[in-house]
Subunit: 365 residues, 2 copies
């Protein structure tokens, strides 16, 4: 008669406690690894846990701890506007995925996001945390991300913007939600981020070009209102200047392959004897190679070309591009670390961590 009301569904703490002959609190303690529990009782509890097949209910725990151990990994950016990366051949599929198909499809077409995911997951997993994948390509989607976090569905957000004027970071900070960005935001904000030392990357390119003997060097920049673009340009100029080349030809592109072609044509028209080009991303470098070959210039023999990002475009290019590579996995892991650190002390100041890029030497320079 004493035990005719058996637990029906999944076992709860209560059930385990009863089985072990202790209180719920004690069971909770051993499960959460709190000290000050008699080893004998600990053992009894563990046994009871095993025999009942107990699994702690996350919602219940979350309700009191105010933590979900989930973080939002959001890929943010405009849906219509040109992206900084990953719009090589944005055609093909989109057959049935519906609206966002092109955005998410494009996004994962570039190995970059896979690397981000890798870095994040590797950091989160050993800590019992998990990433919830979200896309914020429309204003509606951005609101959803904010709502998601405000509901306490995730403890914070890791956001990777594909373009500079992204409003999401601002929305997040305005709502007082913990977030960490990949890349410095265009408008300075009280928000942590990781980034690569763009200047140093550009310097690597400059020095490589110089080292291989190039003397008439030009650069194709990205949109000059983007901070990273300015830094790449500044770094390139500085390095060139320090090596006795105070003036270099410049053409501004828009990060697309087509804009890289146009820029290269302009450059060639003004400086037919060019022998080295540094483009601010791989897509534009690819466009440059294209034009160069059309004009009968061999790459790298006549003109050496260096890109930036080590994206899929770098490998797809013929010849394969020498390019500047960011330590994406490490950077992504650091984002996660920063976010979790911030969850610990909510009032901590925003931090930024800058990583050093490296040069991947292939055939184009």
């Amino acid at each position: 008669m004493t035990d005719d009301l058996r637990p029906a569904g999944t076992p709860t703490l209560e059930d385990v406690a009863r089985a072990a002959g202790v209180s719920r609190a004690t069971v909770s303690r051993v499960i959460n690894g709190v000290r000050n529990v008699d080893p004998v009782i600990q053992e009894a509890v563990r046994h009871a846990v095993a025999s009942t097949g107990y699994a702690p209910n996350r919602a219940a725990r979350s309700l009191v701890t105010r933590r979900t151990d989930a973080i939002a990994l959001v890929v943010s950016g405009a849906g219509v506007e040109p992206e900084t990366e990953a719009d090589a051949d944005a055609s093909a599929d989109e057959a049935d995925g519906g609206e966002g198909a092109s955005f998410t499809g494009q996004v994962f077409a570039d190995p970059f996001f896979g690397r981000v995911v890798t870095g994040v997951v590797n950091y989160l997993r050993p800590r019992g945390m998990h990433p919830v994948l979200m896309f914020a390509e429309t204003s509606r989607a951005r609101e959803d991300v904010v709502a998601f976090l405000r509901q306490g569905s995730a403890d914070g957000a890791l956001v990777v913007s594909t373009h500079a004027e992204d409003p999401l970071p601002g929305m997040l900070t305005d709502a007082g939600l913990p977030a960490v960005l990949y890349a410095r935001p265009a408008r300075a904000a009280r928000i942590s981020y990781v980034d690569v030392a763009h200047q140093d990357g550009a310097r690597l390119a400059a020095e490589h070009l110089l080292a291989r003997g190039c003397r008439r060097i030009a650069t194709i920049t990205g949109p000059l209102d983007v901070p990273a673009v300015q830094e790449r340009l500044a770094g390139f100029r500085d390095a060139m200047a320090q090596n006795g080349h105070p003036y270099i030809a410049i053409a501004e592109g828009r990060f697309t392959q087509e804009s890289g072609e146009t820029a290269m044509e302009r450059l060639l028209a003004e400086h037919p004897d060019l022998d080295g080009v540094f483009a601010a991303n791989d897509l534009m470098a690819t466009g440059a190679c294209h034009v160069l070959r059309e004009r009968g210039k061999r790459v790298p023999e006549d003109v050496a070309v260096i890109g930036f990002d080590d994206s899929s475009a770098a490998l797809a290019c013929r010849p394969p591009l020498t390019t500047v590579r960011q330590p994406v996995e490490a950077m992504a892991a650091e984002m996660a670390r920063l976010l979790i650190e911030r969850l610990g002390k909510p009032e901590g100041a925003a931090t930024s961590v800058i990583f050093e890029p490296s040069l991947v030497v292939r055939d184009s320079a």
Copy 2:
């Protein structure tokens, strides 16, 4: 005195109720769109919600509804497995881009997973649900997935196995957890899945080869113990037989490029006059092209080659491969639909939905 204890943190249902001058129950009703609420009161509640900036707490709701509106999107498959008992608590940190990097990195290198994510997100998002990304490449990781679901951290799992002998589906069903697979499992199980009509895909390849005039045709299969491989072979044979070619040469590969090369060499040795090859995946087709060109055969002029999957390898191959493509986004969306349907009626039978593939004609055939 009546209101000197103001809500400190985020507003709760209680706060909204007070602001609207109604009970929590009523607020709950309007928020959840339950009928039978006076329109006037509804409006008052909505107003109160807006003015308080209320956002329902997911954990609390989840605790009572037993739903999280999150689903696990798990990429499963064999990685390098330490598998020792000692690594229970090992792998503590692994800094950043450590071990697992190779698995997740590789995974997203193929556009396939991006397409799956796209399909899943597009289906889930309008329904207020979100995918939690998980990798199950080690036995430890698989246990984590099961634990995650048993804790009620997600309502079910969508699993994409990169391997036929994946133990995860079995573990999931054994635990009574809702799951839907991409591709039919090797061992039949009471589990829903989506798949492509492999026979029809192979038939498309056969007919295309025949239509372009090939008459001495061979096929490179995958490991014959994989169901999909058998179906592709059967479909190919049938189509050929129906068109007057009851016998075709066969070589078994292991889905790797290298095995494709070996298979092609064998085929060529036995049938030097081959003029068409259908490989059961793009990697093997790539290997075949390689060998063919080494042997002085032009593709497609001398020998036409068709692959399967339309993976990144298809585009990377020279010449770009004509290949059979699965409607991945639609299939992924259907997985999500099936899972959600199953969440509604837990005792429903396992279903499978088969999709029609299409032929992507490029240069190799």
